[in-house]
Amino acid sequence: MEKKLGVYICKGCGLGEALDIEKLEKKVPPKVKIRKVHPILCSPEGVDLIKNDMENEGVNTVVIAACSRRVLWDVFDFRPAITERVNLREGVVWSHKPREDAMPEEGPQVDEWIQEMAQDYLRMGIAGAEKIEPTEPYKPEEEINKRIMVMGGGVTGLSAALEVAKAGHEAVVIEKETKVGGFATKMRKQTPWAYPYEDLQEPVIEQIVKEAEANPKITIRTETEVARVFGAPGLYDVSFKAPGTESKWDIPAPVEAAEGAEAPPQPPGADEATPDNPANILAKDPEAERFGAIILATGWKPYELKKEAEEPAEAEGEAPKEAEGEAPKEEEPTYEHLGFGAIPDVVTNVAFEEMAGQGKILRLSDGKPAGSVAFVQCPGQGSDADFPYASSITSMVALKQAKYVREDNPDAKAYIFYQHMRTLGQNEYFYKSIQQDEGIFLTKGDVVSVSQNGDGLVLEANDTLLGENIKVAVDMVVLGTGMVPVTRDDPILNLAYRQGPGFKDLDLFDGYADSNFICFPYETRRTGIYVAGCVHRALGIQECREDATGAALKAIQCLESANRGVAVHPRSWDMTFPDFFFQRCTQCKRCTEECPFGALDDDEKGTPLTNPTRCRRCGICMGACPERIVNFSDYSIDSIGSMVKAIDVPEDDEEKLRVLILACENDAYPALDICGLNRLSYNAHVRIIPVRCLGSVNVVWIKDALSKGMDGILMVGCKFGDDYQCHFIKGSELADIRMDKIGEALVSLALEKERVQQIQIAIDEYDKLPGMIAEFMEVIHGVGPNPFKGF
């Protein structure tokens, strides 16, 4: 497209007073013929002025020097024309108080520093706009497949399939057992989910199974497992196998990279593998079935009490200290005091449910009906924490199971020992109804021991509502163990992805496939794959059904987005995608390794293989590439580099040092805008460029800035660490690692490594920004001007 630029400068909102607009206009390069100043550019007259030039003068690239791109975007929406906003208002005039003692003796009363800032931004905006290309959405050559594979045939999986089908799509449910329904089929009753929340309900699973089996859009495959998922959203090729068997299409186990090594996990034999050799993850099974998106609903497994000793601590609070000294923990059955394993009538809530589902509640020791049952929610020993992986579900289950005891025998008694009864929301009503039952005794209490006494059991507890130290004789004890997400121990997905077969870094969430984002519970690091049910969080049956509906929407949304050629969250509706210039690729694999979404694979030589429908358009690959071969149409090495080069760096003015700020557009840039809105002033010698993510910052921009003579570079981005706020998961963290390396390079050039720094900021910490910038300027003044200035 031949570009025709129009530059429009606004004089409103104080711009006309704080800036010498006439002088500013003269800074527009002569080649740009259309340049106009308007008193209020966002007024209907101002907008008409621009539209008129678009119609009559052929302007197709509009540079608007006015306010931030975050505001009045709907007024200045000239799509499909390219629009570049030069932020003179929030970024210059509102955020910089003129120095009253520095006003010129004659001419417009304008602070030179502020004027220079505006001039730079205008030049930068024009330079950037010249390098931006119009965007064509990515359309894969093959048709986007709209079938959805649901892994797991329990309540969640079947519900997801039904929701998918009701929205008009086909679903295939994969279940490894001989029949679908999961644990719900073993349950006797369900807790209530509607007002008045009092009576136990018949399980809904039977109805769900029936509906799913009858739905013509749903195919159910039992006794099936996924061996390999190859491809990308809209284009997944899945190989199936019988459970427990080996398939030649099994994903080879990833080889752990050695400490500090950068090589990605490579399967054995993959090096010499050819595309039709299954040992190579790039090999595609000719008999594979195609799907568009995947819902992972493989649920939970009971927390194994005996394994507790191998994985001490976490939810256990302070484990008894003497135990540590006496013997290795592996041999220390932590729940010995509760008699689990030693006494047959001490069972888990899972075993109890299965028994209740099958019929009467009987003691395992002698088969006699249990006339009294104690439910232990918290293993005690000095901590008020429930069993590991417990949740509000375990509280509800104990209440429900106490009711079973009473249903079976009106004379039976049930005791529930808890520390915190977690019946949230309107489930409180269920708790209250249980309290009304005179055969159910609920008490806070620290359970000290469970022991055999004749043919019965004795439970000892301290600090209870029934007394300080009590002993209760019961027939059975039920331990309220938690639900472990299956993703904790098994990648499950078996993705043929270079980054490995499952989701990444789930240990941050104790194995749950949690999104980490409070606002965005379905955010996923594997585009096109959405989790629901108890792999997501511990959820009750009704919540699982709701969660399944949400995951079904996300799966459908992903297909529709892939079909439209746009990105999914958080850059939803973005049509750009990374374009690789492979001729110059050196197979360094950095992009493949660093993409937080595993969007890239690589061939046997290490050349990246793009999967555009997996891509989230963050630009982390662009930031990673030492050869600078990755670019987006509207965001490229050249477009940002040109902006950097457009900054005017004074050569010998020690006062006017120049610092480049690369600011994350998601959080840091809005925070800078708010500084402007609140008229918080920051140093006028910085020049700010918003970036998609700090992870997209390519080192060459820093080199450009330094060789241009700029004195420092400050990267401002999201917080990283376990509670990362980076919307692209790893972007700000990767940038930090790269900056460290840059530091070393700077030293080798006899430049101080302090010149390049990164700070972490949350969007609401705008008030700290002026101080943080001042601090950095101080550092730069300390090290002095860039010695390369003027070269």
Partner: protein, 427 residues
Amino acid sequence: MTEEQRAEDPIKTGSILVVGGGISGLTAALEAAEVGYEVFLVEKEPSLGGRVAQLRYYFPKLCPPTCGLEINFRRIKENPKIHYFTLAEVQSVSGSPGSYDVTVKLNPRYVNEKCTCCGECEKACMAKIPNAFNFDMDSTKGAYLPHEMAFPMRYVISPKILGTDDAKRCVEACQYDAIDLEMQPKTMNLKVGAVIFATGWKPYDASKIDNLGFQYRNVVTNMMMERLAAPNGPTSGKISRPSDNMGISRIAFVQCAGSRDENHLPYCSYICCMASLKQATYVREQYPEAQIYIFYIDIRAPGQRYEKFYKKIKEDENIFLIKGKVAEVQEDPSSRNITVVAENAVTGEKIQETVDMAVLATGMVPTTADTKLPGDVRCDPDGFVVSDLAQGGVFATGCAAKPLDVTSSNQHATGVALKAIQTLVSR
């Protein structure tokens, strides 16, 4: 298109109406629009974001809600399928699944689309009005921006200054002809296929809880505490005693203030335990030595991630978790110190702690508890909206449906977006 342009030209069919622009409504609207459906999002306040915009942080991550809102607002900007209206109220909904006639009243903002947000009207206006966003703990001018992250970023003229000299001063101060005091309410008719009510919640009125002393200046609610801790709040984020702005050395949190109480809200409000644990971190951040007392019945940390957060809080030696329901809150009139009286749930022993201030963990009341929604909508006795999933067409999500936290609300809202889409697909 701007809000005004869209109101002139609403799209008529095959669309979804979402009522309420808080986090649940935003989520439902955006998720449906990103599948490709036309969505109308109607919010009665002058800006989107709802209740969460008032929070300093989300638990358990301690991250600011404006971070996610910024992304959501950008999703709105990018997506041609979503049409939002502020200061808008749904007046009637009639019809059947797949085909509803809706009338929406667009209340006057007295500021039109020419507003540049320059702030001159605010400077010119002299009258101050209580700032509801900060629970009246401070005031705004009669011409104001709802808050600094408001979306859309446009000023509002309070109807309270209409007809005064202040209103004239605002008009004169505006160089952009953006203030229109003659603006009248307008009615917009829509035809939609499905309706999602995401009308949210409000804090339970603490003044109804006689024994908890909300009349005392140094007793605040948990939502007020969020504003006190927020950098853009009435104290610029400094947590201090309301009576004298002095620092805090001892503070008490009173859990279940109204919730789990037959005389007030019989249900549990889901979020208050986690909210108080979170607010304990706000206090700790500013007062490393402060003693923090949390009086509770049960700590309801539902699930692994929340349990971990609770565990971390327990490690703080100056946070005292006391199992006991607060019976009474008293004030010493001279020092304005607050004494919290509780009964230990296990031992029955009476506990008293005198503190600088107390925070009542008040619960959530669905907006629909006392405001009837238009159309054929059924509520349970607590006022939560019951969705008829079998019939489809009209749904509720977020805290209009049940007490929920933000993550669960958004999970729910994403699912409900699909239920709405199914209503359209099946017809």
